[in-house]
Symmetry: none
Subunit: 219 residues, 4 copies
DNA sequence: TATGAATGAGACTTCATTCAT
DNA sequence: GATGAATGAAGTCTCATTCAT
């Protein structure tokens, strides 16, 4: 990954379809060097912040050298970028599954909304890092990440529009604003939620999606 | 603030009930040196992030020297801490006003909710910096800030509990979780909102408070 | 000198006409920190090359810390740039003195030519560094240095043109090419000359200027 | 060149009188891997400097991998060393041809002098790299290169001495110094000359050799 | 009050080279 | 013959903070 990838693709994790030449990549417990680097980077960034974590911290945690890291990633930025990408891709895929289901739009929106809360909390580190540190990325990478997020926003908005067209949801609310309203509680959750607290991701997902759906169907 | 203040009090802005010896603090346009420092720090922190802004950047923008800054503030941290304090105090004061009003709890909560959206957007820089950079403060200062925010949370929660007790609001929702639900959209707004976009703070405040109240009174 | 100076002016050596505030700059044998840095940088760059000399080498030789160096210079580049500037300014001043003298053009050109050889050899380190390392400067600084050198070239060329106009020098040679011909031997001298060799700068200056003048007045 | 060659001999270009086992070296357009590496190294070193060019840059330009480069060359230094060798050998051969001609010494010196200017400009990249980067070579290789250059210097000097002995050239000039005088303009030409400028190598060679010969025959 | 010189630790990154395959 | 993963040392620069004046 010496060249900036256009897509959000974690290096070293691709199927690598083909001949393997040169020294065999080292693995620990079946995890490759770039995988281990991303794992530890995610944890450390969430713990101490992106700026508070040095490259040295990351490579020490992953048990490799700095040189190895720069063999797989162009920069410290790149680690952040890949972490974002992983979450973004996963959430997009899940959303598309919910959208495509056979069910009333109300039910599909409720399920998708609960699910995004759950996955945000199950990846609470990545999401926390995301909103704290996006502004530290290079301009190019910020733009790429925003583009991905925009696509997600629009897919989700489609459900709301569908609900309004079919008369299920109120129409006095801009669909865009409704999306921003709901994703506020999703993206802000990492600020107050703790894994060892009393509430499970599932419970929170239920509550938040219910509150949101009830406000859309009010009146 | 050479001496650690117990409360979040901006130095140089106090009624100045004390030592007034030696030279009068220099002012420009009636603004004192610490005021100018905080102003420019807030703008720069929002623009380039707390870590991306050097002390040199701040003092250059404010037209003073580093020595002057360290005369009024103990550290770069202190600037951030004071910026938080200003917003927190203001929002707390406004919330208390709404709580104390003579009106049905539904109306007081709706007004307070719309208002906090408006003031968050009118101080969009401070709020953005807040959630991006809180983790960069020293542990002590983080604790102090969280304490303040907790007091705010509890005051706001009081309105919800009052509404539930009087039968106005549904009771199947934990008041704490309801607060976190609503403040998600408030605190996340700086991520997507722009001052030169189509929606005014007032419009957004109306929409968000309506959606929230409708979900509380649903069923 | 936090801001790139438009002119080639060694920082910390300016008359500094005015109030002196803050800590007094430290000096050793009456030499300020930036002066010492430039002195040792020049010697080290000539000895080990610009790339072969680390910033650490320079500050250690000058007896200061890296931080101090970056207080006075923006970059390692800047050191090189200032070294060039010192030589360029000195040579330009000397050339202008020779041009302004009351004497036949033949005599003024001979004297100026001998002198530039002598000063090049007396500053053999700076000149050697100049031609080895100019390409390592930032594009902007390269352009500035070239501009200065161009001015020097044109001033010197003026003497040749004057000699051609008055019939003293042959006219079948382009003045520009004659300048490049002569400055070849000047700028190349640092490659082969050694201070402890048999020939003094003065002897070499005499020989080279004589050869050059004889070829201009030939036929 | 896995074994240190005593002479400056480009590897992979030898008549290949030896081991021809295993796979045939891959060629592109009839050029072997080491030839392609040297070609691109020369161009890149001239463009961005020896230090500014990484081994990765060179192998990427040549379309091979780092491993392949280290199969043919011991080090990055080696690339530079071979580039020098090519030019030095060629110029020595040409000089010997001119020396051996049947013609008056004045004519042979003029022809040799014009020719060395032309070949220096036709190999402007190599010559520029030579004088910029010689000091970056290992001490051993520097000594070897200097030895080669010394042989060239002495051969050329022989022509001047011959001219002085036969009474054609003035005798008040040290032959060594005369050589250094003339090779100044030769070696410095890459600093100011551009292939797309108004003057051809031939025109410059004529002018420079004429000026030099005229100064030797003056009086 | 205010200056700005000086510190010193640490950050990110580059790169020639080695080596198992 | 050739690959490319991995190393490890060094390099340039930034920056919050201190302190003599």
């Amino acid at each position: 990954m010496t060249v900036d990838a256009p897509a959000l693709d974690p290096p070293g994790t691709r199927p690598s379809g083909g001949r393997r030449k040169g020294r065999t990549p080292s693995t620990v417990d079946g995890r490759t060097v770039p995988e281990r680097l991303l794992d530890h980077a995610r944890i450390l960034f969430a713990e101490k912040g992106f700026e508070g974590t040095s490259v040295q911290d990351v490579v020490a945690a992953a048990g490799v050298t700095k040189g190895a890291m720069y063999h797989y990633f162009n920069s410290k930025d790149d680690l952040l970028y890949e972490i974002y990408g992983t979450v973004l891709r996963m959430q997009m895929e899940r959303l598309e599954t919910f959208i495509a289901q056979e069910a009333p739009v109300e039910e599909r929106l409720r399920a998708a909304s609960a699910d995004v809360v759950v996955t945000a909390l199950e990846n609470v580190e990545s999401v926390a890092v995301f909103f704290r540190s996006l502004h530290l990325l290079s301009v190019d990478k910020q733009a790429e990440v925003r583009r991905e997020r925009r696509r997600y926003h629009e897919a989700y908005r489609g459900l709301i529009i569908e609900g309004q067209r079919t008369g299920l949801f109120r129409e006095d609310i801009s669909p865009d604003l409704a999306v921003d309203y709901f994703f506020g509680c999703v993206h802000h959750a990492p600020v107050w939620w703790h894994a060892d607290g009393p509430l499970s991701p599932g419970e929170i997902g239920d509550t938040f999606s219910r509150l949101f759906l009830d406000s859309l169907t009010a009146r």
